[in-house]
């Protein structure tokens, strides 16, 4: 055997024996830092022996040629199966040519030892150039370390070329590094919360650690024009979390390499089980479950990710000119409390956060403007948490702000920021159960908390989506009266997964009830949130049946109950599926969800007049609630509800039903009972009176005469002929909004029109004259009148779709009255410029005949043409 051959054999034996020893030691200690240091030393020893054998036997020789360790090898972080990054550095082309063959033999020698080498060859001059297409080489130089060869050449590289390059190209390097990092984060969904993360590349992994160190180093080199003291790279507070996180991830990566026998950094479920059992990276005395071990992982990943992200964002700001800084202060995004510089929020007064209202407004600001908190702001919030924990904001005040935050376009980012700072679980302790919770199934890709944030985010993103089918969903999202309730339900819907239970929905409901109680939501709002959580899987379940089958649709619609809840449930289903993983909501699924939605919506509008008959004991939830609220009013409630449509009970909360009952009992004092209140989006006028012809049309006309725009309305009547009509309208000219005394005059006006004391037509004339001057609308809606004589056994359904305009409802309702049609039920809705009005009509308590329908349709078309 030749000398080279015996050396190779010797080195192979050395590598094998020592690698086994390092592996055994790691198996016993779990100390990743030590394992990688030992492997680095081993590979270095082998490299140097081979160098001396093949390239040059002289100590510190040959001249003008040096061997440099780069990347992980240069840092001293050689993981068990990592590549070995080497730079063959020459002073000039001649040296490069002279040593070409020896370099080939040297590299071959390393490959023969099964060491995966990533070699680069450069002359010194080339190292001074920055190639945007090869950022990795420039950043790898930041970790360069002398191994063998000409030390002077290395010194020139290290002390002159690199500092000069980094100073000159710092902006470009940082930009490129930032872009690469953002692209990598984007590839992994911009979240650390993967159920099976890649501990190197996923956000919060070792690559983010490298990025953080490079960014710090570049920043320091720019200021000093030289290498800084390594200890000064990160602040003390950053180092406190960074170093333990790094130790942990090093141990995990070593574990994975040894486990897989290759450079595979995927922390699969099986690997998580084993890591937890062996206590990799942790020093707990008791055995951890995989879920608990992963929580530790995520906690460290959070620290690394946060450090890397902050450095990515803050370094450009540190180089801003003073004028740019002041310009940012004056931008419209900044306000009296918060200033925004390069997308980062700073507090104008650091003591302002003592006021919890300012703290909540800060996150509202983040959610509204899509900005991030600066490191200093985060630090101040962290300082505040212990005192906030003793008296956290709660109740209606907290809900007021939280609801606003949830409704903002970038709510998910604000929630993530609050969660990362531990503020969210302080305000909503119910979310602790799902904090970094790993629940394994083949579909979900993210932890439960991240899934909830993603679901919220996917709905907000709908409004910017260009795809046709997502635009349909966006339309119904914009119609929601209280979208914040939907977002709150999404936030709480999987909290049950964090508690032991057979059925996570039951668990989530129990937890949500506590939360809603603490937030002091109104009873109707609580009912909505709980309904959504209780039924959040119903639509997916219905999709597994025949969605074109009327029985399936009827059953589903029955369960949902009202169009508003149907819209919310449809959007909930969209968001929940979308947040499972990026591919979960296929166009196939989305179209089926939409198909089910429109079928159920039509079902709800065509099946409205199933009446309540309370002879049998109705155990509806609402009835139970009514009995609880008014135990002595049993008979009166029964009498009032008898004959009202089932939709009535689904539309109104128990409290509202009792109020209507009170109003009906006061009809003896005054035959027209009116209740007016201001809602979040519009005014709400409820009329309780005895039915009579032209009633609905006259109220609609009076509202039009006052300049009100009716957006929704419902009209129901019971067996005794008492009607409950509710009109939801916007106050176009702010008459009621700015003049409280006008409220009484307004109600009196309606009352007088209904009793005949005031001439409605005269009121309407002057208003219509003013409206005519406004000109034609930009979007033209074609009038359509549809009749369905089959959907109800005792009424005829007429649906009118037309251009929304003042007086429309009065015109339509008046035509019905003129043709002696009684409005049994009305469901009025507006979608942008489109009015969608559904009426259940009878004539002499029967369905309309064909002739009656024909005449009515003709009259409606004529009337609608007349006012277009």
């Amino acid at each position: 055997m030749t000398t080279a051959g015996s050396l190779s054999s010797e080195l192979r034996d050395l590598y094998t024996v020592e690698s086994a020893r390092i592996r055994e030691e790691f198996a016993s200690t779990g100390n990743g830092g030590m394992a990688i240091a030992q492997r680095t030393g081993l590979v270095e020893k082998i490299t140097l022996q081979l160098w001396r054998e093949i390239v040059c036997r002289e100590e510190q020789g040959p001249r003008n040629f040096t061997l440099v360790a780069l990347g992980g090898f240069g840092r001293g972080w050689l993981f068990p199966y990592s590549d070995i990054d080497l730079l063959f550095l020459h002073a000039d082309r001649e040296t490069e040519q002279a040593f070409k063959d020896r370099i080939r033999s040297f590299s071959q020698g390393l490959w023969d030892l099964r060491l995966k080498v990533s070699p680069a060859t450069r002359i010194l001059q080339e190292c001074d150039r920055f190639d945007p297409a090869n950022v990795e080489f420039s950043t790898s130089l930041l970790d360069c370390r002398y191994l063998a060869g000409d030390p002077d050449l290395f010194t020139r590289l290290h002390d002159k070329v690199i500092p000069k390059l980094m100073t000159r190209e710092a902006q470009s390097l940082l930009q490129s590094l930032a872009e690469l990092t953002r692209a990598r984060h984007e590839k992994f969904g911009n979240t650390i919360f993967h159920l099976e993360p890649n501990v190197k590349d996923t956000p919060g992994g070792l690559r983010d650690c490298n990025v953080a160190l490079w960014l710090s180093l570049l920043s320091s080199m720019d200021k000093l024009h030289d290498w800084p003291d390594p200890k000064s790279l990160l602040s003390t507070s950053a180092r406190k979390q960074f170093e333990p996180a790094l130790d942990f991830l090093m141990s995990v990566r070593c574990f994975l390499h040894f486990r897989h026998g290759r450079d595979d950094n995927m922390l699969s479920w099986e690997a998580q089980e084993e890591a937890a059992k062996r206590g990799i990276g942790v020093y707990e005395t008791h055995e951890l479950t995989a879920a608990d071990w992963m929580r530790i992982y995520f906690s460290h990943a959070r620290s690394l990710h946060r450090t890397a992200t902050q450095l990515l964002e803050e370094i450009p700001a540190a180089w801003s000119s003073l004028s740019r800084h002041f310009h940012n202060l004056r931008t419209r995004v900044s306000d009296a409390d918060f200033s925004v510089v390069d997308g980062l929020v700073f507090l104008r007064q650091s003591s302002a956060l003592q006021d919890s209202e300012v703290l909540l407004r800060l996150f509202h600001f983040v959610a509204h403007h899509d900005v991030r908190l600066s490191t200093t702001t985060e630090y101040k919030i962290e300082q505040l948490l212990p005192s906030l924990a003793s008296t956290p904001p709660r109740g209606a005040e907290l809900w007021l702000y939280l609801g606003e935050i949830l409704a903002q376009p970038h709510a998910a980012n604000a929630l993530r920021a609050m969660h990362s700072l531990r503020l969210l679980t302080l305000l909503l302790p119910e979310l602790k159960t799902i904090d970094a919770l790993v629940v394994r199934d083949f579909y979900h890709r993210f932890t439960v908390d991240e899934h909830s944030f993603l679901a919220i985010e996917s709905l907000h993103r709908l409004l910017q989506s260009p795809t046709e089918w997502e635009k349909q969903y966006a339309e119904i999202l914009e119609e929601l009266e209280q979208p914040e309730l939907l977002y709150l339900a999404l936030l709480l819907h999987d909290t049950g997964k964090g508690v032991p239970s057979d059925n996570h929905v039951e668990g989530s409901l129990a937890i949500a009830e506590q939360c809603l109680e603490r937030l002091d939501l109104e009873s109707s709002e609580r009912e909505t949130v709980l309904f959504l959580i209780a039924n959040h899987l119903e639509m997916s379940a219905a999709l597994r049946r025949d969605i074109f089958d009327s029985a399936t649709i009827a059953a589903f619609a029955e369960r949902v109950g009202t169009p508003e809840r149907l819209k919310m449930l449809c959007l909930f289903t969209y968001a929940d599926i979308k947040a499972v993983n990026p591919d979960a909501l296929t166009p196939w699924k989305a179209e089926n969800v939409w198909q089910l939605y429109i079928s159920a919506a039509n079902q709800l509008n065509r099946n409205v007049d199933q009446r309540l008959h309370l002879d049998a004991n109705v155990d509806d939830e609402k009835m139970i609630r009514l009995r609880t609220l008014a135990p002595m009013a049993g008979k009166k409630v029964k009498a009032f509800l008898e004959g009202l449509p089932q939709r009535y009970l689904r539309t109104y909360a128990a409290g509202d039903v009792l109020r209507h009952l009170e109003m009906s009992e006061s009809l003896g004092k005054h035959p027209i009972q009116l209740d007016l209140k201001r809602g979040r989006h519009w005014f709400e006028l409820t009329l309780v009176t005895n039915d009579r012809p032209f009633l609905f049309g006259r109220v609609a006309g009076t509202l039009a005469a006052w300049g009100m725009n009716i957006v929704k309305a419902t009209a129901f009547s019971n067996q005794a002929g008492t009607v409950v009509d509710t009109f939801y309208f916007t106050d176009r000219f702010r008459t009621l909004e700015l003049n409280l005394p006008e409220w009484e005059r307004f109600k009196r006006s309606i009352s007088e029109v209904l009793t005949g004391e005031t001439d409605l037509e005269r009121m309407l004339k002057s208003r219509m004259r003013a409206e005519e001057k406004k000109g034609t609308p930009k979007i033209k809606i074609k009038t359509s009148i549809q009749v369905d004589d089959q959907c109800s056994s005792n009424s005829t359904l007429v649906q009118v779709v037309a251009q929304d305009r003042p007086g429309l409802l009065h015109t339509v309702a008046s035509r019905f009255a003129h043709h002696e049609c009684n409005i049994e039920i009305a469901l009025i809705d507006t979608e942008g410029q489109m009015a969608i009005d559904v009426f259940y009509l009878t004539a002499n308590r029967k369905k309309l005949s064909r002739d009656q329908l024909k005449q009515l349709e003709a009259a409606l078309r004529e009337a609608l043409q007349g006012i277009s």
Partner: protein, 112 residues
């Protein structure tokens, strides 16, 4: 070896899967599909707009099985998926030249 491709109604998937499990068939590929034969489409009006579904959502199952199992599997699928109405779907059979298990390079029926 034979490839079985079955187009079935969405609502029949669980039933077909159970039937196949009962006769010892565990491996299959499930694909979301749309289509129609003689089954007519579906039109729905919503808010004045017409929504027409010409291609009805279906599920396509794919299995590659030993020839000796083919008839048994076809019967299991048909039995579970049949309603007797138009729209029940179809089953197609085709020959497969070779099958290879990626994990360990097993070939032929051993790879199934």
């Amino acid at each position: 070896m034979t490839k079985i491709e079955a187009i079935i109604q969405v609502s029949k998937l669980e039933g077909v899967k159970n039937s196949l499990h009962e006769i010892g068939v565990e491996g299959m590929t499930v694909l979301e599909a749309r289509g129609h034969g003689r089954q007519k489409g579906h039109t729905e009006f919503y808010r004045g707009r017409e929504y027409t579904v010409d291609l009805i959502p279906k599920i396509k199952l794919e299995l590659v099985v030993a020839d000796t199992m083919v008839e048994k599997i076809v019967q299991a699928i048909s039995g579970a998926a049949r309603t007797g109405k138009i729209g029940d779907g179809k089953i197609f059979l085709s020959r497969v030249d070779e099958a290879i298990r990626i994990r360990n390079d097993e070939r032929g029926e051993d790879a199934l």
